[in-house]
Subunit: 340 residues, 2 copies
Amino acid sequence: MKKKITIKEIARELDVSISTVSKAMSNSSEISKDTIEKVQAFAKLYNYKPNNIALSLKNKKTKNIAVIIPEIVHHFFTLIISGIEHKANELGYNVIVCLSNESFDKEVINMETMANGQIDGFLLSLSKDTLFKKDFHHLREVINQGMPLVMFDRTSDEIYCDKVIIDDARASYNAIQHLIYSGCSRIALITTADYMSIGKLRTQGYVNALYDAGIELDENLIVKVDKDEELDEKVKKLFDTEKFDAVFGVNELYAVVAMREAHNRGFKIPQEMSFVGFSDGILSKYAYPTLTTVIQHGFEMGEKAAQMLIERLENNDDDSSYKTEVIKTSILQRESTKPI
Amino acid sequence: MKKKITIKEIARELDVSISTVSKAMSNSSEISKDTIEKVQAFAKLYNYKPNNIALSLKNKKTKNIAVIIPEIVHHFFTLIISGIEHKANELGYNVIVCLSNESFDKEVINMETMANGQIDGFLLSLSKDTLFKKDFHHLREVINQGMPLVMFDRTSDEIYCDKVIIDDARASYNAIQHLIYSGCSRIALITTADYMSIGKLRTQGYVNALYDAGIELDENLIVKVDKDEELDEKVKKLFDTEKFDAVFGVNELYAVVAMREAHNRGFKIPQEMSFVGFSDGILSKYAYPTLTTVIQHGFEMGEKAAQMLIERLENNDDDSSYKTEVIKTSILQRESTKPI
DNA sequence: AGGTGTCACGAAAACGTTTTAGTGTTGAGA
DNA sequence: TCTCAACACTAAAACGTTTTCGTGACACCT
């Protein structure tokens, strides 16, 4: 077990000073060619690599960024992480992943432990709990300390910082329009509780699309799901009490579960009933029939967020004011809707 | 923007020495009650938190562990990461996630950048590329440097280190047995290329189970899929050329795609044809019909791996030799197989 | 008065690096 | 012979901690 070698040991072995070794390693012009060669050869032989912790302390930057997400067991989030990781690595940064598990407390703890030197900046998507509590003091704190923060997907208007979002209202508008164009007119909506901004915005798009198409809004066709456990029950109730020819789910799970129920009740899909989901995950792709969805381009979102953060880290001319980038969505037509 | 305060500044403000502040913060008995109170009050007021990088440098430990996985967009891996994160946090460690993207080169680069002080130990699942190349020098190197390494799921016999695996052969044996007990006798297998140890082991279990049940092996019923792109085609060919009453897929995707094909060809599931998958992901849960699967307990695997690594980090009495933990699997009976 | 102990604190080293500010030697120019 | 510059190198500070080893002041005992 040969331990890692340090600059100091190289200096001692070669009988030169520490500074000479350091400079030789960076090909400084102050050092003679002979010495440079000698030092670098020795360093290579003993597989010398500078200690990153020491460098971080010296440079006051770690080349690490933290991403705090509510859950990792979600296809959309894994896409985002892949995007973040890809872009960050490309720009020479490492990614530390923290999970808040949708808990406010864990989000705060994560930020506090990370903020003490471990990382140069934050990438954050708010937990449900935080959105519900509307307590953002931990975000203000890190921003005040001068640490850059970029929020993505689940953001808040109360915090001024860079953001990357998708235009949920428009995406949902397009999805509903797609259904209408394909001949549907009584469209049910399965959405989340209102404190989730995405649920709210997507509902907004639904309402607007109906309005613009001259279709009257029927509140009975809107199902709000607070917890995933009550999803099944609420979907069944919808089928029991209402008549409709299409369902739009604000995520792929809602759409797939509804489609399943339609299946069980003998509806022909998409002839008698159409389905559109949100976020193109594995469920949509392999559902039966395959599900038409709004694609959120999570990978691109991750890349963009990482890029914005790193740009801010490297151009410390923080005169530039905060930006909000909107990632475009698109609709992927599959088997669960009638072709237009 | 108030910058983070350091011990040195506290010392200057309060007109005491740096060491006094440091000791006061840790309630040292050397320091008078008065001074302790004064220092701690001041520290709290200015929200002092020790700089973790400085601590890491001093203590020669970072309380960070790296986990290198081939892909994050896989339910099983996200479960593992959740487990790792959960256990690591519980024990006071942070998790740095690196993606190898199934590439040998990226795996090597990840390990090299991490090994220079950033982390205290590695958690690793080998990339396909590495398994194919059988080049493990990067693993030997970190082990030689005295840095603990725990491998999970995709491991190699050529490396001596702690491991956490699932008993793939037995799990697959049990799955086949389940099918046989439920009345199936011509069971097709959809598996991966041989260099993937999991594919090999699961095939092994398949073969053994048939043998023990006195069913003759028919090579034509075994489909090997090299790349996911050729999956559809190979499955169709299987249905075109062979007759069978059950399919076992070595992952959930294979099983679901096969089930879908059966659906399209009008087979009644499970009466005419049964299906079992591997790894309990979202696909299995929401497939139509829902898929009976081998549950791998990824969360537990992650927890176990993290625990083994951290135990080794904290008990530097490395006299204890390497262990291999086997995570039990279980079969979750759903709609795609006949009840036994 | 001299010796001994305790208390409360401070100085300095150490972790591994980079960088600034010297420093000694050599050679050239006046 | 003196001065100056160039060269090749070194010493030391700095990043923010913790910890070891002092040390001065005071009280107590003989």
